[in-house]
């Protein structure tokens, strides 16, 4: 896809796109080694194998829930997309260790605002997979969700496009 086509596509409906919240490589959600995500129990989505230690907001919206363990965050975009960003697998059991949150439940955020820092190496050293599934909890509200899989992404790059 040429740059102009891409720009045009992004410009077409920016309210229904999500930016990558992290730096890394994207994979299909079905490749996440956890059936809760791979089988879409939480919704359709994508996953990022992180190469950084920070999660940023993928859109303008509101923090619906900052998990007190810091391992996950729920956002609702200004256009109504319900997004769960989950850092690592089974990381709820770390009970907050290696995670630092920068926003609270109820906060308004802009795309690119820093949400969470995590110590990727320390989490991996404790035996956890650090993959970051990003899922749309209200997937049923969309006829199509296009995920940019198998790409190297920087925070802010296009990650998903949703169609009503």
């Amino acid at each position: 896809m040429g740059i102009f086509t891409k720009l045009f596509k992004n410009a077409a409906d920016p309210a229904n796109t999500l930016a990558s919240p992290a730096e890394g490589k994207t994979v299909d959600i079905s490749e996440v080694p956890d059936p809760t995500f791979a089988e879409g129990i939480l919704g359709k989505g994508i996953a990022i194998i992180p190469e950084g230690d920070t999660v940023y907001s993928p859109c303008d919206g509101t923090i619906d829930l900052m998990f007190d363990t810091g391992h996950a965050v729920n956002l609702i975009s200004d256009s109504g997309i319900e997004i769960l960003i989950h850092i690592g697998l089974e990381t709820v059991s770390l009970k907050g260790k290696h995670f630092k949150t920068f926003m609270n439940t109820g906060d308004k955020v802009k795309k690119g605002d820093k949400l969470i820092e995590f110590d990727r190496k320390a989490i991996a050293d404790e035996g956890f997979n650090t993959i970051i599934p990003v899922v749309i909890c209200n997937s049923d509200s969309y006829s199509e969700i296009v995920a940019e899989t198998a790409k190297n992404v920087a925070p802010g790059d296009l990650l998903m496009t949703l169609k009503k």
Partner: protein, 87 residues
């Protein structure tokens, strides 16, 4: 209307995965299902994943589950069993 109380035994409470499993279990139910933690003054439609997660139900919380609709007699015992087995 059918209702039951259940006190959460799982050490980690109802976080993302259990919330997903609960919503999936209830998705096919015709009745409306609400969960409420009275001591915290919070309630949610159990068919809405984000709403269930936002409850941030913890170990020791007593959840009141209310099932109301034409299939309530059939599904209430199943839902109660699901809570016992998973939470």
């Amino acid at each position: 209307m059918k209702t039951f109380d259940y006190t959460i035994k799982d050490e980690l409470g109802i976080h993302a995965r259990p919330a997903g499993l609960l919503v999936k279990k209830i998705a096919g139910v015709h009745s409306s299902v609400t969960i409420e933690v009275k001591e915290k003054g919070k309630s949610a439609d159990a068919k809405r994943l984000m709403a269930v997660m936002k409850m941030a139900v913890k170990q020791g919380d007593t959840v009141t589950v209310t099932i109301e609709g034409d299939d309530e007699d059939a599904v209430a015992p199943e839902i109660e069993q699901f809570f016992k087995e998973n939470f």
